[in-house]
């Protein structure tokens, strides 16, 4: 077995969590294994925007705020998502299904505006499409 780094341990802890976050227990465990103070572990963890120490929704929505998406009307989509989900950027919906996050650039600029939900990219978005996508995921997960 290869030795893992603190960052990898944190990534792993987060990926094992249903609520997409790193618990205090995880941090304690990593601190113990690595013989590293808690402050250091948090120092690393809080540096990276894909890591969270707060519970998040089952699905992470990353809406792109890059220049190409901005030009293609990305702001409207952010507002639409806020309205549909009833949350602000960085918040989680009441039902615990979605967390809305903004990404600096997802590198899908040829089909801007775009977003990703978990590992799935969605492009050439419109306000209607965004609403539909959220609806279909909601219906899919309820089953």
């Amino acid at each position: 077995m290869k030795k893992t780094s603190i960052l990898e341990d944190l990534q792993k802890a987060e990926s094992h969590s249903k609520e997409n976050y790193i618990t205090f227990k995880d941090v304690l465990q990593i601190s113990e294994n690595k013989k590293t103070p808690l402050s250091k572990i948090y120092g690393v963890g809080t540096f990276y925007s894909m890591l969270s120490f707060k519970p998040r929704g089952r699905h992470i929505i990353r809406i792109c705020g890059g220049l190409a998406c901005h030009l293609a009307g990305g702001d409207k989509l952010i507002n639409k998502l806020k309205e549909v989900l009833q949350v602000d950027v960085g918040e989680t919906t009441k039902d615990g299904l979605f967390t809305l996050e903004e990404n600096s650039c997802l590198g899908l600029c040829s089909v801007a505006p775009v977003m990703m939900i978990d590992d799935e990219p969605y492009g050439n978005l419109t306000e209607e499409k965004v609403e539909e996508i959220i609806k279909s995921i909601k219906e899919g997960t309820k089953k």
């Binding site: 990276y48 925007s49 220049l67 190409a68 901005h70 600096s104 590198g107 600029c109 089909v111 990219p121």
Partner: protein, 531 residues
């Protein structure tokens, strides 16, 4: 005659349900008893990406797009394969270039030679197209010989700075150490840039082969591909490719019966643009905060865990196999002195055709925009081009009649940078664009040094005020001074380049800034000013 249908299944095509189309083809071919003679495979992006599901049929070299439905699939199978006719109505986006040769022909696909031709999911496909031959040639040469070949090719890094690759390798080769590393920088986070993704999704083995050759040349036997966490499909295809390479003995111990051993793994980033900076990247791989390190020492002599480390961009490494296969002299027939070979560009913004294209260095920027990119959408006129990403430069229509290469661009204070070309039409507001750029850097500044941490924040606040009609007479001067300070005193390239495009916009579009600041007016009605 055996036919191959290659369906573009890159991230952007997949979101148009390319996978479903693949399945529909398989079903339809089976129904017509054609499965034996026509195979269906996934491939990488065909260059133009905003065209729906696209596919090429070889050996006929016919491209169809967009293929949207079951009916489209049935039509192609019936008319193309049974009747032997080209289905003209399914070639809509390419009225001008209906044949794949023409589309590929105005490009020069060297790095992307396999993308659109082979399945990225099968190592045998790569090998059938001369894959790993460059590495075999390297093994027959001495490590010094390989470095000489790369130096002779005058290949320069494609990650932005343009450092000569052969020279970089030589530093690491000459460094004495029990352990050395090869790192592929696949953090691609520069807004407007998505060319490395095209390589990794379309031809992942090429990156592995480039790293193997780098390892052999420098005496490194461990490689790491550091890739941004959001690039799920790239990660999947690279990991699959690595495991296939291990299975065939192209990675691991005593590769192909030689004394050379090389291990390779993928490490995922966790969302931080600064980690593309090479020393921040090293810290991130070591599991620390991704803050940049002091240079010197430089990574080629003291990099990962303090050991000599070559860090190259994905595109740089993807150039290596073909140089080792066909030689430096062959390579130098492309491009211009000072910038040999080709360059990938990510076309985006207000263009008709967007995507990743590969052209020889020295191609005129206006040709790339107007011919390859099909000109501006809705016949609008050009206002500005952001070249090399938001840390790059802002060019006016007067400046785009220029060859794209390191030397020519340096004359207009620009560079190819990350290879992104963001086209802005007359309807775009320069202040609004500057605000988006400033917001990006404010968010991505790592906070280690004051000029960048505070500078990016102040820059954003000033522009935000101006965009709301609260600009003040002294703002331009303050921004200029702030920008200069950031350039001169920031710790790393992030803060040093963050003000570039903004400062250039102040110089090149003073009237537009002044209209916002003094007249409280946005000439193109993008900003909402509350006077």
């Amino acid at each position: 005659m055996k036919h191959r249908i290659l369906i573009a299944e890159d991230s952007k095509s997949l979101l148009n349900r390319a996978k479903e189309i693949e399945k529909l083809f398989k079903k339809e071919l089976e129904k017509r008893n054609l499965s034996e003679t026509v195979s269906v495979l996934p491939t990488g992006s065909l260059g133009y990406e905003d065209i729906g599901v696209a596919l090429v049929i070889y050996p006929d070299n016919v491209l169809y797009a967009p293929v949207n439905s079951k009916e489209d699939v049935q039509t192609i199978v019936k008319e193309h394969f049974v009747d032997g006719k080209v289905v003209k109505k399914l070639q809509k986006p390419f009225k001008r270039f209906s044949q794949i040769e023409k589309i590929m022909g105005i490009q020069q696909r060297i790095v992307l030679e396999n993308v659109g031709k082979i399945s990225p999911e099968d190592i045998k496909e790569y090998i059938a197209f001369d894959g790993y031959k460059g590495f075999e040639n390297a093994l027959k040469t001495s490590p010094e010989g390989v470095i000489k070949e790369i130096k002779d090719s005058e290949l320069r890094g494609r990650g932005g700075a343009g450092f000569p690759t052969g020279k970089k390798w030589e530093f690491t080769a000459k460094a004495k150490s029990d352990k050395k590393y090869i790192i592929c920088n696949a953090d691609e986070g520069e807004p407007g840039t998505f060319k490395d993704r095209t390589i990794m999704e379309g031809d992942p083995h090429r990156v592995i082969e480039g790293m193997l050759i780098a390892g052999y040349a420098t005496g490194a036997n461990e490689g790491i591909i550091y890739i941004r966490g959001e690039y799920a499909l790239s990660i999947e295809r690279l990991e699959n490719a690595i495991s296939q390479a291990y299975d065939l003995g192209l990675l691991g111990n005593n590769i192909l019966g030689s004394n050379f051993s090389f291990d390779l793994q993928v490490k995922k980033g966790a969302g931080a643009y600064v980690c593309g900076e090479e020393t921040a990247l090293l810290n991130s791989i070591e599991g620390k905060r991704g803050e940049p390190r002091k240079k010197p020492p430089y990574p080629p002599t003291a990099g990962l865990w303090g050991k000599p480390t070559v860090i190259n961009n994905v595109e740089t490494l993807a150039n290596i196999p073909v140089i080792m296969r066909k030689g430096a002299e062959w390579f130098k027939q492309f491009g211009v002195p000072g910038s040999y070979g080709t360059k990938l560009f990510s076309l985006n913004g207000d263009l008709n055709w967007k995507g990743v294209v590969e052209v020889p260095f020295g191609t005129n920027l206006s040709f790339i925009i107007n011919e390859i990119g099909g000109g501006l959408k809705d016949n609008l006129s050009l206002k500005a081009v952001i070249l090399g990403g938001v840390s790059g430069s802002l060019l006016t229509p007067n400046e785009i009649n220029t060859p794209v290469d390191f030397n020519s661009l340096a004359k207009i204070e620009a560079g190819p940078g990350s290879g992104s070309i963001t086209v802005l039409s007359e309807k775009r507001c320069i202040v609004d664009v500057a605000k988006n750029i400033a917001k990006f850097f404010r968010h991505e500044s790592c906070g280690k040094c004051t000029p960048c941490r505070v500078g990016t924040d102040q820059m954003y606040k000033i522009i935000d005020r101006i965009s709301k009609g609260q600009g003040e007479g002294s703002d331009i001067q303050i921004m200029e001074k702030l920008g200069r300070t950031m350039k001169l005193t920031s710790f790393c390239g992030l803060g040093q380049t963050a003000p570039n495009a903004i400062l250039q916009s102040l110089k090149k579009f003073p009237d537009e800034w002044n209209a916002h600041i003094f007249d409280k007016r946005c000439p193109v009605n993008v900003c909402r000013l509350e006077a």
